[in-house]
């Protein structure tokens, strides 16, 4: 049954894709199998459950493959298969960009690259134009082809990280699990990478692809051997549509200008832009009152201008400040540092002390534990807006107690947010681990809005330490990130 469908699809293809017919595209396509290990946020010292899945990859340059970040996340072993080759080749992740769901892979075995052909990147396709999606949906062994038209070009949240939005193209071809990472072609060139769809009763025939400006951005970013992540203005804005609002700010009724409402102290714009400014132009492009600019003939959000920048680039603003025009130049000297709202693909950080498990708050933690303390969720949702980062880099939560005589009366501290240890404010996990490692007769841990401290005697801790480690099989008492791990005390 496979063969006739395959041919029918192929005959359609010839019309548009003369330069990369189905036999040609096979040279550029592969199936990726990922054996992944998911992290365990409840028992963070455990290596976690094995899982994984499959997706699609394509040859992006002479000896490199491209796919989605979510296809290769948490990978322990990656294998790739070509259509007419029985062999499974081992691949490794060279660069992974969780914020735009793209990854570049290496395959060491030169045999893999025999008779392969890299695909070229095309432009942003026009609305209503046809595109063809290649891949291995639902885990099939043979290549599948679907066809659709470009329905919409818009900014949209990338589901892999949840926190990031970039340019995204909606097509009406079905994109199913397994299609992820596969090329979407037009006129023989890649115009997108299939990456997510809308399922369920809400929508039908809605697929999304990552367009070439985002792919190109990723490829350029990694040219220096390091992925710097997307640059971001990190400011709050408000459209200036209300005429009274415009008049009060001394602006003419010309549908131009976007109000700046918040410039957090961690923003690259801090010290350059202020709340109350009105942005009139970005890099010479007029900003309309709803925050849109005209790029390549398309109306796009102003953020797209920043999206196309790289670390070290500058952006110039024409600003209306205190009813006078000024110009400001902002340098993108760093990516936004606080990414706790994005899904994390790093091993979870934690510290176990006196049988208490301390973990930094992030999306994975929120999804794992059903916290009832509204403060925990509040600090997750408003960490940036309320500039909580001025006091701490990480919100550290006591997530669990490993029951032991030493902590049997401490249940009330579960879900507490750590404030101080022995009088010193704690900014992050490293400081917490250091405070616990410091010799003291007693350890007084204060929690946010908790009227009493948690107190441990050193002698009690010493007698409990090995007991707790053995009883609960705590393989390692802390993990503080990828840098060298130091044991407490």
């Amino acid at each position: 049954m496979i063969r006739p469908i395959w041919l029918a699809a192929a005959s359609l293809l010839v019309v548009h894709a003369a330069s990369a017919g189905p036999n040609e595209i096979r040279k550029s396509l592969c199936r990726i199998n990922n054996t992944a290990q998911e992290f365990n946020y409840r028992v963070p010292w455990l290596p976690g459950q094995l899982g994984g899945g499959s997706g699609t990859g394509w040859v992006v340059k002479k000896d490199r493959l491209m796919t989605n970040a979510h296809v290769v996340s948490n990978a322990k072993l990656l294998t790739v298969e070509k259509e007419n080759d029985p062999k499974k080749y081992v691949a490794t992740v060279e660069f992974i960009a969780h914020d735009c769901d793209l990854a570049q892979l290496k395959v060491e075995d030169p045999d893999f690259w025999k008779d392969t052909k890299p695909l070229d990147l095309g432009p942003v396709p026009e609305i209503e134009s046809s595109v063809t999606v290649y891949g291995y949906p639902i885990g099939g062994e043979r290549m599948s082809v679907t066809k659709g038209i470009v329905s919409r070009i818009d900014f949209r949240t990338y589901a892999h990280s949840v926190m990031d939005s970039h340019l995204c193209i909606q097509i009406d071809a079905a994109i199913n699990p397994g299609n992820s990472g596969g090329p979407v072609m037009q006129q023989g060139k890649v115009v997108g990478v299939a990456f997510q769809g809308l399922g369920g009763a809400d929508a039908q025939n809605v697929g999304y692809m990552i367009p070439t400006p985002v792919i190109g951005h990723f490829l350029k970013d990694i040219e220096d051997g390091h992925y710097d992540r997307y640059m971001d203005l990190s400011i709050g804005t408000f459209p200036l549509l209300n005429t009274a609002h415009r008049r009060a700010l001394g602006l003419p009724d010309d549908d131009r200008g976007l109000a700046v409402t918040t410039v957090g102290s961690a923003s690259v714009c801090a010290g350059k832009l202020r709340a109350g400014d009105v942005l009139l132009k970005i890099d010479g492009l007029e900003i309309q009152s709803d925050g849109m600019v005209q790029i390549d003939g398309e109306r796009m959000q102003m953020a797209e201008v920043a999206e196309r920048k790289f670390k070290g680039d500058k952006v110039k603003f024409d600003v209306w400040r205190d009813k006078k025009p000024v110009t400001e130049e902002v340098t993108f000297d760093r990516a936004w540092p606080y990414t706790h709202q994005a899904t994390s693909y790093e091993p979870p950080k934690y510290v176990v002390f006196g049988g208490l498990l301390f973990q930094p708050m992030n999306r994975n933690l929120i999804m794992t534990y059903q916290f009832v303390n509204p403060r925990v969720f509040h600090s997750f949702a408003h960490f940036i807006e309320e500039e909580m980062y001025k006091e701490r880099d990480e919100v550290i939560v006591l997530t669990a107690l490993l029951p032991d005589p030493i902590n049997t009366y401490l249940e009330e501290f579960r879900e507490g947010i750590v404030h101080k240890v022995n009088g010193t404010a704690i900014r992050n996990m490293k400081e917490l681990a250091a405070a616990f490692a410091k010799q003291a007769d007693e350890y007084v841990i204060e929690f946010e809005s908790h009227g009493r401290p948690l107190v441990f005697q050193r002698t009690d801790l010493e007698s409990a330490r090995n007991r707790i480690r053995q009883r609960y099989n705590v393989l390692q008492e802390q993990f503080l990130g990828d840098e060298a791990t130091t044991e407490a005390r």
């Binding site: 549509l241 700010l249 409402t261 918040t262 009366y409």
Partner: protein, 486 residues
């Protein structure tokens, strides 16, 4: 309609029996209530009629739960047999203790001959009876043992003593409030019942007696509160940290003292260890030994043993040293909170300016999001309400917020704004909604400048245009008024 006809027919049958039979100590209570719609603060929701059973007390008065009569519009009492109804009125209601006292019109003889119930306390193991009425006026008695006396949550806030009994109460008409009887005497009022666990939560005699005594005093003062929070001291490390001497076996660690509360005025401080209240020792969990109910939280001493104005003695340890503090108990009115824990029988306050609806945050507003309001109401509003004593210790007195926008020609671009905390209008920092009209009298350069805690931080309205469009907003949305500030 079918049901009414049926009841009338029964009433004929019953009338002959009732004259000869002994009169019951209960009466049907028919209540119509209508609550204000806090999300459309200018209007009331549709009226709701409920039927309950009231307990007849001396002086031709009837006791029910306050929940039943909240936002009352019409109240009548009805013969147990059904049929005869007379209008009645509310003598007093306490929504915190969930009790209300009713009376008939002066010249009514509806309750004449109905024996008044005496009140008695009950103990664990006592056989309690819940009284319901059949349609024909016969008493339906369900019995079950009292299992627990404990401090538990009441509908609006805080905790008071409850009796808990296990019994299988059947579904009957008029069952919203039911008397609970022990040996022919009233021992409580049924507050809630869970058919699955067959647990009945009962407002107990001590709370009822406190309420009735307070009402009898002429000036109703309410149940007092002390105003501190505590942590148990079972943890030996905490006992050592708090310098509790070995000779002291009990005590609780004070974790919070509410501003201006009786505890604060008495000089109680965070970190103190409370070891004794009057003659009662406080144990490590914060309980005292009650003669009737055994170990229950000391809150019961402040709330129920005592009345507003009473003095209580607190024995504490501060850094290991014994001190004696005297507190004068007060009731805390819901209006004195930053976010009122309940607003019943009162209209919500609001001001509409140029289509922007400004209100004051209250838990009532949050509860109007429905039974799952904790999930559905805006997270920030829940957070402010929950941590108000912490977050707003230094003001403002009330949180003024923009609940939503009624779109008009003047609010183009503002339509989507909702649930934003308003900090200033025309430069005036708002302490409550009362400050809004004054602030609006002084526009800056012809504009009203409205500032929020959150984005978009600042918006403007044309002052002259706002005034001109006022009538238009009122007509367009058929609003009875553009503000209510009493």
């Amino acid at each position: 309609m079918h049901r009414t006809a049926f009841l009338l027919a029964l009433a004929f049958l019953a009338s002959g029996i009732a004259s000869s039979a002994e009169k019951l100590s209960v009466v049907r209570v028919n209540v119509t209530t209508q609550s204000w719609d806090f999300h459309r603060p200018w209007g009331k929701r549709q009226p709701l009629t409920r039927r309950a059973i009231g307990a007849v007390l001396p002086g031709n008065r009837v006791l029910v739960t306050a929940d039943l009569v909240a936002n009352l519009t019409y109240l009548e009492l009805e013969n147990p047999e059904g049929g005869r109804k007379v209008p009645a009125s509310l003598v007093a209601a306490d929504y915190e203790a969930n009790l209300a006292l009713l009376q008939t019109e002066a010249d009514s003889d509806l309750l004449t001959g109905a024996p008044a119930l005496q009140i008695t306390e009950s103990g664990i193991g006592d056989q309690l009876s819940v009284w319901q009425l059949e349609n024909n006026g016969r008493l339906l008695v369900t019995k079950g043992p009292m299992t627990t006396a404990e401090i538990s949550a009441y509908p609006v806030d805080g905790g008071f003593l409850i009796y808990r009994a296990t019994m299988q109460i059947q579904g009957r008409d008029s069952s919203f409030t039911l008397p609970v009887v022990n040996n022919g005497k009233l021992t409580g009022i049924l507050m809630s019942y869970d058919a699955q666990s067959t647990n009945a939560n009962i407002i107990p005699a001590p709370v009822i007696q406190h309420f009735l005594k307070d009402v009898a005093g002429g000036h109703y003062a309410g149940f007092p509160r002390i105003g501190y929070a505590f942590s148990p001291t079972r943890d030996p490390s905490l006992r050592r940290y708090a310098k509790i001497p070995d000779a002291v076996t009990g005590g609780v660690y004070i974790t919070e003292v509410l501003k201006d509360s009786p505890a604060a005025k008495a000089g109680l401080q965070k970190g103190d260890v409370l070891i004794r209240v009057d003659d009662f020792a406080v144990d490590q969990d914060g309980n005292f030994d009650d003669a009737a109910y055994g170990k229950i939280p000391v809150a019961h001493l402040f709330n129920v043993h005592h009345f507003v104005g009473d003095k209580v003695n607190l024995q504490i340890l501060r850094a290991g040293e014994r001190k004696s503090l005297d507190a004068t108990l007060e009731h805390r009115a819901p209006e004195s909170y930053v976010s009122d824990p309940y607003i019943i029988d009162r209209r919500p306050r609001f001001v509409i300016v140029g289509g922007l609806i400004l209100q004051e945050l209250s838990r009532q507003y949050l509860k109007d999001f429905g039974p799952d309001w904790l999930r559905r109401a805006p997270e920030r509003l829940i957070y402010w309400d929950r941590f108000q004593s912490d977050l707003f210790a230094d003001g403002p007195r009330k949180l003024v917020f923009l609940s939503r926008v009624m779109p008009t020609s003047a609010t183009v671009g503002y339509e989507e704004l909702n649930h934003l905390l308003v900090t200033k209008i025309n430069g005036v920092a708002l302490q409550s909604l009362d400050d809004v009209p004054k602030a609006l009298e002084k526009p800056v350069d012809g504009f009203h400048k409205i500032e929020f805690e959150e984005d978009p931080k600042t918006i403007y309205l044309d002052a002259a245009e706002t005034q001109k469009t006022e009538r238009q907003v009122q007509m367009q949305y058929r609003l009875p008024a553009l503000k209510f500030l009493e």
